[in-house]
């Protein structure tokens, strides 16, 4: 014990010294940023849930985040002023003695409680804290009637704390803590209304898919740690440490190794940021409350993957293959999600798929080496996506928790502010020039086109990116039109809380058909109404996928509250007293909407193209963090890309115009389809390309695919293991028990028959002897005396014999 504590002390001292060579002193106050929300969480959990009134809780949780935001601004200005990263360390957290006894010897690692805030982290903490603050304010209004009010806010605070830890971590391990923390919070928040089984299952699905990603991520981290350690003898998990090790020993990490590590960590990122293979959990995550979706599944958590890759840029730049993988997966995901987004009827589902596609764009940007562009898109996306989600939240709030856009319409007049902010955010996401979306998306597309870092020319991915951009514009506009313009579908509905079944007769026949068909095959946009999974194995993720709580959720929400009475449901069904007219949200929600909308309008100018007067402020700001991608051709590191950039000035202009055209085309198409022809062409298209439409509606049946493959095999494996366990293990145990019992029976028998018998025999023998000897005791004194005499006689005789034996012998036999 003592010895280990001594070592710990030494390491702290050493850690302290050896921490960043930069003269930055140890700013312990940095730790306040993540710890304050954590304290908020603890306060809520232990005190809040029981007794405090709602205003106090909201004040505390928002306050905590506000202070954290303020501190992040202070940190931002500190970094801006110092020009280099600042850090705060609380000392050694993990200290593993090297096998050769030295603290940093072979396999010996020191992980400090160290937070580093460099330029990249500044952006992230600003995004996280500020947006989180507005979302806290928004959810005060949104969750007003929520029964478990304190619990909701405690989870939010906890999420914020973990997100901050993730972004500010100085080492992979600490980042991994944040990584897992946010996963936990997403699980908690998704499954917030756990009364309904779908929400719980959605929460679990999110968590498990994330875990799968994390597994890969862990393998990558460990591989990196061991590779560097063995090769360079520097055993560290610090980003700085790893970067320095790689720069000092360039040959230490073979490209193949780097590729492997890169890909494994990218798989982790896909899990967390919902990229192609592991994205299925994000649409289902919409089951959680809308502000949660806004915060976690739009702005912060999902961007963790992009941040991680940006943070590990020095690694990725070494491996073109890894970069290519990232970029291609990003592009494909963007296009794929975009197409699905066009067919969704649930407002939050549409936004979910839009998030997935935008993430795809970010990964594409990062994948091609334009880390700054990727991060910038992340930055802007956070604003307009949060604004869109909050907008949808306000719509849902107004419509009495109605999420199906087909039941909405003409809300423009009802919810003017929501409509305006929603519109601005849509323009931003679509990529209309003055708005943020255009600059970041265009930058990425341009970088993709002009990149040489990939294994194949960049324009291939550029085409995919443009298609995705087109889809984005199209479905966002569709959404806006179906929600705010057109006929007020909700007016005809008998009662919002009415079952979805008794729709008005004027609904066109194919809707009916589609519904029966739906019921039959369950693949209508109201998603197949599979009955609840009969078998109780909750873990059967496949089933969850099928009945897609989110797509179905709100209706269920509708149905459930209706039959279970008002208060029972997760609470938001209660609506605003009268279920009737949709109404504008209260000001606390609108404030957040307005701010975010403004943000999504203005933020774009940070990322002006570099040739613009003091343009590309964002890129310059992030420049010290990122290294340029290694040109694949020359093989040797290419100097900064900057020079090559000037001459193709004109090309950039062309691309910017092209992307604006694409955006406008998308919007125009959507307007044409949905407002002028009020959705008829969509219906025609749906009939004609029936399978295609259903396919897209069913999200390419990816869930079913997963069920069929991964889940089925796991379950089978489970069966086998179960059987194995029963037959063999139990078999052996029962066998052992049986032979033990037989052995004991044998021992028992031996004991009874042999031992007892022996004992009894001796007892009887003594008794018999006793009976015989008793006869000697005649009670007659004379007998006793006779016995005594005879005995005496013998003694004397013996004595005489003994005494006289020599003489007697000689007398009798003569001699001497």
């Amino acid at each position: 014990m003592i010895q280990s504590s001594l070592v710990l002390m030494a390491s702290m001292v050493q850690g302290h010294m050896e921490s960043h060579a930069a003269p930055a002193d140890n700013m312990k106050w940095l730790w306040l940023i993540p710890i304050l929300p954590a304290i908020g969480f603890l306060f809520q959990v232990f005190i809040g849930t029981r007794s405090l009134p709602k205003p106090v809780i909201s004040f505390i949780s928002c306050g905590v985040v506000l202070v954290s935001a303020a501190l992040s601004w202070v940190a931002f200005f500190q970094v801006k002023e110092l020009g280099h990263a600042i850090e705060g360390s609380l000392g050694a957290w993990i200290h593993i003695m090297g096998t050769d006894g030295q603290p940093t010897g072979n396999l010996g690692v020191i992980v400090n409680h160290k937070l580093v805030v460099d330029q990249l982290t500044c952006i992230m903490i600003l995004v996280v804290t500020n947006i989180a603050f507005f979302i806290h304010v928004y959810s005060v209004g949104y969750m007003a009637e929520e029964k478990r009010y304190a619990r909701y806010f405690s989870y939010l605070n906890l999420f914020t704390a973990f997100m901050l830890v993730l972004v500010m971590a100085s080492s992979l391990i600490l980042m991994f803590v944040g990584w897992e923390g946010v996963g936990l919070c997403s699980y908690l928040l998704i499954g917030f209304w756990y009364e309904k089984k779908e929400n719980a299952i959605a929460g679990m699905k999110a968590f498990i898919v994330n875990r799968i990603g994390d597994l890969a991520f862990t393998i990558g981290v460990l591989a990196l740690f061991v590779a560097i350690g063995t090769k360079t003898g520097v055993w560290t998990v610090d980003f700085e440490g790893i970067k320095r090790a790689i720069h000092e020993h360039p040959q230490a990490l073979s490209t193949g190794g780097a590729t492997f590590i890169g890909i494994m960590m990218f798989i982790g990122a896909t899990g967390k940021s919902a990229q192609l293979p592991l994205y299925t959990w994000l649409p289902d995550a919409m089951a959680g409350p809308t502000p949660v979706s806004a915060l976690i599944h739009a702005a912060t958590m999902v961007t963790a993957g992009v941040y991680m890759i940006a943070r590990m840029n020095f690694l990725y730049v070494m491996t073109p293959t890894a970069m290519t993988v990232v970029a291609t997966v990003g592009a494909i995901t963007a296009l794929f999600a975009g197409t699905i987004g066009m067919a969704q009827n649930d407002i939050k589902k549409v936004l979910a798929y839009s998030t997935v596609s935008q993430l795809g764009f970010m990964f594409m940007g990062v994948g091609v080496g334009a880390f700054a562009a990727g991060v910038f898109h992340l930055f802007t996306h956070a604003f307009f996506k949060a604004c869109l989600f909050l907008g949808s939240g306000s719509v849902i709030h107004g419509m009495g928790h109605e999420q199906d856009i087909r039941k909405m319409g003409a809300l423009k007049s009802k919810m003017p502010v929501t409509w305006v902010t929603f519109g601005l955010a849509t323009l931003a996401i679509a990529g209309i020039p003055p708005f943020a979306g255009f600059f970041s998306k265009d930058e990425i597309l341009w970088k993709t086109f002009s990149t040489h870092a990939l294994l194949f020319p960049g324009w291939v991915l550029w085409l995919v990116g443009v298609a995705a951009a087109l889809c984005t514009a199209f479905y966002m506009t569709r959404l806006v039109i179906k929600t705010f313009h057109g006929r007020a579908m909700w007016a005809q509905a008998s009662s919002f809380s009415g079952g979805g079944v008794n729709l008005p007769d004027w609904m066109d026949e194919e809707e009916e058909k589609k519904r029966e068909h739906d019921a039959g095959r369950g693949q209508d946009e109201s998603s197949p109404a599979h009955n609840l999974p009969t078998d109780e194995s909750v873990l059967d993720l496949g089933k969850v996928g099928k009945h897609g709580p989110s797509s179905h959720g709100p209706e269920d929400a509708h149905a459930a509250p209706h039959d279970a009475g008002h208060g029972h449901d997760a609470g938001h069904a209660a609506g605003h007293g009268h279920p009737g007219e949709p109404h504008e949200s209260p000001t606390s929600m609108l404030v957040a909407l307005v701010v975010l909308a403004a943000g999504s309008c203005l933020v774009g100018f940070l990322g002006m193209p570099h040739w613009w007067p003091h343009g590309d402020a964002f890129g310059k700001w992030l420049e010290p963090v990122f290294e340029g991608p290694h040109e694949t051709k020359g093989g040797e590191p290419v100097k900064e890309k900057k020079e090559g950039h000037e001459e193709s000035h004109g090309l950039e202009w062309g691309f910017m115009l092209l992307s604006t055209a694409v955006a406008l085309a998308g919007i125009g198409g959507a307007v044409y389809v949905y407002s002028s022809r009020s959705g008829v062409p969509a219906k025609d298209f749906a009939e004609k390309h029936h399978e295609l439409y259903d396919l897209v509606l069913d999200k390419y049946r990816v869930d079913e695919l997963y069920d069929a493959t991964v889940v089925r095999t796991l379950l089978n494996l489970n069966e086998v293991a179960g059987r194995f366990d029963n037959e063999i293990v139990d078999g052996t145990v029962n066998g052992a028990a049986r032979c033990a019992s037989t052995a004991s029976k044998g021992a028992g028998y031996f004991d009874n028959e042999v031992v007892d018998a022996a004992v009894n025999a001796s007892a009887n023998a003594t008794q018999a002897a006793g009976r015989k000897i008793r006869r000697l005791q005649t009670g007659n004194i004379k007998d006793y005396l006779t016995f005594a005499l005879v005995g005496g006689l013998f003694v004397i005789a013996a004595f005489c014999l003994f005494l006289t034996w020599p003489d007697l012998y000689h007398r009798v036999f003569g001699g001497k």
Partner: protein
């Protein structure tokens, strides 16, 4: 064979026969009272034998305790346990032949051990009797008890006032020897100490006081007398001289050889007193009881007390309320 020897033999056989007759009477008589009185004969003859063996105190004690005490008790018991009416007290006994022959062979066994078989020579008992030879230069000295056969230990005590002394003179010295003079000198140190000063000088008494007491004790006794006996050297190596008329005291004896050419100096065995003459066995027993056997003596007294109380209790006659 002097008259005394004849008397002693006579007395022994008389009393032995009386004892045996009495014993047989006890064993065989029909009438229990007769056997009781036969026991009287045995006891008296035993006392007589003790007297013969010069254990006078024991004889007296025997008579006092056995005859006066135990026999009276037995006779009382006999009378108390027979209804006065049946005068001829039958003393039926189960004349078991087995017991008789058992006793007979027991007797035979004992006698075989005791009797030295015919041929003379030192048998196992002589060891106890042979005198203790004390060497002083070329000479060897032995001392016998009055009977001349039983050895007298150096410093031992004898109960008669006669002791036989033997001196062995080597061949060369005996040539011109005329007379051997033996002088028995009283050893005041071991004078008959009265019980008062017998103990070692008492620690509490101051040494000076003790010396005074001893001085005074020595003074009171007549000047230590010495007796001289002259004897002519015998042909055999050792000449025996009988010292007669010894008083009750502790004696040392010296020998002087008177030859033609002159007298040799007084020589004699070492040992503080060579032997002590006691008039009777009473005093040695008393001294023994007071010193080595004190514990036993006290224990026996306790035992007697217990027996007394026990007997009284056992034999009480229930007082019928």
């Amino acid at each position: 064979m002097t008259s005394s020897e004849m008397v002693v033999n006579l007395l022994f056989y008389v009393f032995a026969v009386a004892a045996v007759a009495g014993a047989l009477g006890v064993a065989a008589s029909r009438n229990i009272v007769r056997s009781a009185f036969a026991l009287l004969a045995v006891l008296f003859s035993a006392a007589a034998l003790y007297a013969l063996m010069k254990a006078d105190f024991i004889a007296a004690a025997q008579v006092l305790i056995y005859v006066g005490g135990i026999l009276v008790l037995i006779i009382f018991a006999v009378m108390l346990t027979h209804r006065i009416t049946d005068v001829n007290v039958s003393n039926e006994s189960t004349p078991g032949p087995a017991a008789f022959c058992a006793v007979l062979c027991l007797l035979f066994a004992l006698v075989v051990i005791i009797l030295p078989l015919p041929q003379p020579g030192p048998n196992k008992w002589d060891a106890g009797r042979a005198p203790e030879t004390m060497r002083e230069g070329p000479y060897a000295f032995v001392q016998y008890q009055a009977d001349g056969k039983t050895g007298l230990a150096n410093g031992g005590s004898t109960f008669e006032n006669e002791v036989v002394v033997g001196v062995t003179i080597p061949e060369d010295r005996r040539a011109g020897l005329l007379r051997i003079v033996v002088r028995a000198v009283e050893n005041p140190g071991k004078v008959k100490e009265s019980l008062e000063t017998k103990k070692a000088p008492d620690a509490t008494l101051s040494p000076e006081k003790v010396r005074l007491a001893q001085e005074e004790a020595r003074k009171t006794v007549a000047e230590p007398k010495s007796l001289e006996f002259a004897a002519t050297p015998e042909k055999t190596e050792t000449t025996h001289v009988r010292l007669k008329g010894l008083r009750e005291a502790a004696y040392d004896w010296k020998v002087k050889l008177v030859g033609a050419e002159g007298e040799s100096p007084w020589i004699g065995p070492k040992g503080d007193p060579n032997f002590v003459v006691h008039k009777g066995v009473t005093e040695p027993i008393a001294l023994a009881l007071a010193d080595p056997y004190l514990l036993a003596f006290e224990a026996v007294s306790m035992l007697l007390l217990a027996a007394l109380v026990g007997a009284a209790f056992l034999a009480r006659k229930e007082v019928k309320e």
